[in-house]
């Protein structure tokens, strides 16, 4: 290839097929590209880079470093560190297992009601924090309806037990999606080859299916580990005496006004989170062996053998039942006075959220999320496009920084925002920007919240965009360039329409994530700019579960409504474009 290109490039007349693209890039004539890269880089720096840098500077200041260095020596801190790791490992193990069971049942077993099971498995993704935790307390707590009223048990749900239960139910969908995709992409002829060589169903499972899924299982484990150590909402509600790094950092900042302490705990949280992210990206993804030869041909035969079907299905149904019970509690709990104590019907909770004091938060959150969603969606696609087809050496860096918004725990981002943006940005003795976060900031701190929404939600779009773009033949891009389009025109007219489905899922995720994110928000929400998730926290803290349930239910309705509208809009011919396939 190079051998044939080189003489052509040296061809002085240019009659040979001299490649136009490298020349153009070297001379830097494509100004729009340079501008685009600059704008995206600056944006990324402001919404993720700066807060992280500020965290690091504070954590490495003398007061901060004192706490960081005492993590292993101070018994209290050592306990917190151990709690965090323990919680992460247990939830990752259980969540991956549950996710695998659900995925295996979905892809390989024969039974009725697959669609329903699939939807149930996805429900926790669109749910706000606290929904599961609050429902779990109501059902399985000390006075829980199931645990106490039904079985007469006195279960202490606060602490590790409750956290594991709630986090597993909340996070298993991540493993489910991951493993379901992998199971579906396994070539069914591998199973047939094994059967043909004499392997029984069980033997096929242990010698072919399971080993092929190892990367997916490892990847899910790591993702769940990070998700659970980064989680703040559930430890706040359910932790009790069981303190983890995230809740400790929260306490330091909001209770003790000890910013240096917050930054220090954040740093300790950041290290495992980022290492897992790096391992996941550069090691697990390389070990992926699923697609080797050809494309999967045909569909695998669904399993009807009771030896596999009965245990797996029972487990799947149990998990699905628990998920349904949790959400039924949320919905039902919003309509009664105090669920389990006083079951009289009331609309007071919904009135509070829809028409009372709570409506303020509902409108503000929705509007800010609606502002952030298109920004995050487009920015995610733009980064994906730059990473896949435009940048060369720096593409890895941009991809990495773009993903930081998700791979860095929300608590850390929130504290970083509080440190970086609560005061005007001053550099070299000049104020470059007024304060954007906090009560005294411009727009009542709303700008920082939109920035957090964008930072948190653009990675999902970016991921979807990258995988969609990698499937597009680069020649299509080159064709547009050779017909005279600039880089940005190519992106707008050719690339974006081709990755429409990825954009759709990017927007969906962006909105859902913006609406349901809590951990960074609690650090920068202000009395002027109330956000639903932090309002739910306040209601739960005050023991007003009914209001919290109503909030959660309405939040879910808003998110599902948005997804529905978006899908409907995408069905419209003018937006959908030409039907492909």
């Amino acid at each position: 290839m190079t051998a044939t290109l080189l003489p052509a490039a040296a061809d002085p007349v240019g009659v040979g097929a001299s490649p136009p693209r490298p020349r153009r890039r070297r001379s830097g004539r494509d100004l729009t590209l340079v501008t685009l890269v600059t704008v995206v880089s600056v944006l990324l720096f402001v919404i993720v880079g700066l807060p992280l840098l500020r965290i690091l500077t504070v954590a490495f200041s003398p007061e901060g470093w004192e706490i960081v260095s005492s993590m292993l020596t101070n018994p209290v801190n050592r306990r917190i560190l151990w709690n965090t790791v323990q919680l992460g490992v247990v939830v990752a193990l259980l969540g991956t297992f549950v996710g695998f069971v659900m995925a295996y049942a979905q892809v390989r077993l024969k039974f009725r009601g697959k669609k329903v099971l699939h939807l149930i498995s996805l429900m926790p993704i669109v749910s706000p924090p606290f929904a599961v935790a609050t429902a779990a307390i109501t059902m399985f707590g000390r006075n829980g309806i199931v645990s106490n009223k039904l079985f007469g048990l006195e279960i202490d749900i606060y602490g590790l037990k409750g956290l594991v239960f709630v986090l597993t139910l909340s996070f298993f969908p991540v493993a489910y999606m991951n493993l379901k995709g992998m199971l579906e992409s396994l070539d069914p002829s591998l199973d047939e080859a094994a059967a043909n060589l004499g392997a029984s169903k069980l033997k096929i499972f242990t010698s072919v299916t399971l080993p092929m899924l190892v990367p997916g299982i490892a990847g899910s484990f790591l993702l769940l580990f990070v998700e659970s150590i980064a989680d703040l909402a559930n430890p706040l509600v359910l932790g009790g005496d069981y303190t983890v790094l995230a809740s400790r950092a929260y306490l330091a900042v909001t209770g003790e006004y000890n910013v240096a302490g917050g930054a220090a705990y954040s740093l300790v949280l950041l290290v495992p989170a980022l290492s897992v992210f790096l391992v996941q990206r550069y090691w697990v993804s390389r070990k992926n062996v699923v697609t080797v030869t050809g494309k999967p041909s045909g569909t695998p035969e669904l399993i009807t053998a009771p030896a596999l079907r009965v245990p797996i299905l029972s487990l799947a149904v149990l998990v699905a039942g628990l998920v349904v019970l949790m959400y039924a509690t949320v919905i039902f709990g919003g309509f009664v006075k105090i669920f389990g104590v006083n079951n009289d019907f009331t609309l007071a909770h919904y009135r509070f959220v829809l028409a009372g004091i709570g409506s303020d938060a509902m409108f503000t959150t929705t509007i800010l999320a609606l502002i952030a969603t298109p920004i995050a969606g487009l920015l995610g696609m733009l980064i994906a496009w730059l990473v896949v087809s435009k940048l060369k050496r720096t593409s890895g860096l941009m991809d990495f920084v773009g993903m930081l918004g998700l791979s860095v725990p929300g608590t850390v981002i929130g504290i970083g925002y509080a440190i970086a943006f609560n005061t005007p940005t001053i550099f070299a003795g000049r104020q470059w920007f007024p304060a954007v976060a906090g009560g005294s900031a411009i727009l009542g701190g709303a700008m920082a919240i939109v920035m957090v929404f964008v930072a948190r939600s653009l990675p999902s779009g970016q991921r979807a965009g990258i995988s969609a773009l990698q499937q597009i033949n680069p020649a299509i891009d080159e064709a547009s360039t050779s017909l005279g389009a600039s880089s940005f025109t190519t992106f707008r007219k050719v690339t974006l329409p081709l990755i429409r489905p990825a954009l759709l899922s990017g927007l969906t995720y962006a909105f859902a994530r913006s609406m349901t994110t809590l951990s960074p928000i609690v650090f920068i929400t202000t009395p002027q700019t109330k956000i639903m998730t932090s309002q739910i926290l306040a209601e739960v803290d005050a023991g007003r579960f009914g209001n919290a349930f109503a909030y959660c239910a309405i939040l879910i309705v808003i998110v599902l409504g948005f997804i529905g509208l978006l899908n409907l809009a995408m069905l419209h011919p003018s937006i959908r474009g030409i039907q492909r396939r």
Binding site: E192, V289, T293
Partner: protein, 395 residues
């Protein structure tokens, strides 16, 4: 039938050896199986009245025979193969191996080995472990497994690759591993599901020969599915031509080509000119027909009858052309519409009163070629034409 394969086998030993040719006889210790299909039928889905993917398939595959299921996509050839392997359950009919009924036997209990279109090598196992997979399941002692696998790998020239992962190998090498993995099981029947379709053209031709030689040397029964007629013609003892779920014809490659049973077969295998003819007389195995201004005595299909609609098959290479002084199309005179030079042959499109004919002339001298607009006298070799019924009864 057996005569064909025996004569071919003696012919084979004289051929120059290559990478697959060294397969030792130790791999040949399995006894070749006889496969019988009776009234085989497959309907997908719950609706029993839906169009069957395969219907009324009756076939006897002799021990040691290389048989090819050939047809366009959707003709039911792969479904038939998968029913033999056990991956699909027949809706009706019987599958027997050496008189044992196989319908209820699980695929992992059938003494057959399959080479898949995608090769289906286990990506998480090395080449060695891929080939050893089935032997280990047979509970064979590991020392013997190692011995057998080494023998198989060496015979396929795969020895140096034993510790490689499948994705580190070329398509041709992966194909060999798939073949070694199947052969090492010493199956009674070897099944091939379009195994060559993922290879490039040159390698495909090479592998054709290698697989065929290997199969003959080991004397194993083989069922080969393909949509490539060249593969079918060059490799098979007999070809089963299928279309829309039914068998159109089962015969040797030569018979299929020279004496097709239906218009579909004639059209699908090779290229064909179909001429409308007047049937003047029908006698035993022959018929007198009028076309191109003359009377011809041609061989005929047994199904040809005076009252039935018939057509005359004339292959492009059986047409004979000679210069003429005539300057108008009619009778035996035709006119060249276009010509294409292929190197080893030249091809003409010729307008005649019986329709346009495709004509292929092998290895012509430069002074023997014709150009567009030339008028020619058109005839054909009587013995190579074939009078056949239109709309075969199997349709």
């Amino acid at each position: 039938m057996t005569a064909t394969s025996e004569s071919a086998m003696t012919h084979d030993t004289t051929l120059a050896d290559d990478s697959l040719g060294t397969a030792p006889d130790s791999l040949a210790t399995s006894t070749p199986g006889r496969v019988s299909l009776r009234g085989l039928r497959k309907v997908y889905g719950e609706d029993k009245n839906a169009t069957p993917a395969v219907r009324d398939v009756d076939l006897d595959i002799e021990p040691g025979e290389f048989i090819t299921l050939l047809g366009p996509s959707g003709c039911g050839k792969t479904t038939t193969l998968r029913m033999i392997a056990g991956f699909e359950t027949p809706t009706a009919g019987e599958i027997r191996l050496d008189d044992e009924l196989l319908n209820k036997v699980a695929p992992n209990k059938r003494p057959m080995a399959m080479v898949f279109q995608s090769y289906a090598l286990f990506p998480h196992l090395t080449v060695f472990d891929n080939v050893a997979y089935g032997l280990k399941l047979k509970k064979m002692p590991s020392a013997r497994v190692a011995e057998e696998v080494e023998t198989a790998l060496t015979s396929m020239n795969l020895g140096p690759y034993r510790d490689r992962a499948p994705h580190q190998m070329s398509g041709g090498q992966q194909q060999r591993v798939a073949l070694a993995r199947a052969l090492v099981m010493r199956p009674k029947v070897l099944l091939f599901d379009e195994p060559l379709s993922n290879l490039d053209a040159k390698l495909r031709v090479q592998m054709r020969g290698e697989i065929r030689r290997l199969q003959r040397r080991l004397g194993i029964t083989a069922v080969f599915v393909t949509h490539d007629q060249d593969e079918a013609m060059t490799m098979s003892d007999r070809i089963v031509v299928m279309n829309v779920g039914v068998i159109e014809q089962v015969d040797t490659p030569q018979e299929i080509y020279r004496h097709p049973a239906t218009v579909f077969v004639a059209d699908f295998i090779g290229r064909a000119n179909f001429l409308d003819v007047d049937v003047h007389a029908v006698e035993d195995g022959r018929a007198e027909v009028g076309v191109l201004g003359k009377r011809w005595t041609v061989p005929k299909h047994p199904g040809v009858d005076v009252d039935e609609p018939v057509t005359l098959l004339v292959r492009p290479e059986s047409v004979r052309l000679s210069p003429t002084d005539s300057r108008s199309v009619g009778g035996s005179v035709g006119r060249v519409l276009s010509s294409m030079f292929y190197g080893e042959s030249i091809e003409y499109d010729i307008e005649t009163e019986a329709g346009n004919l495709v004509v292929s002339v092998a290895d012509p001298h430069a002074h023997e070629t014709f150009g567009a607009g030339d008028f020619l006298d058109v005839g054909f070799e009587e013995g190579r034409a074939w009078l056949m019924p239109v709309g075969g009864e199997t349709q």
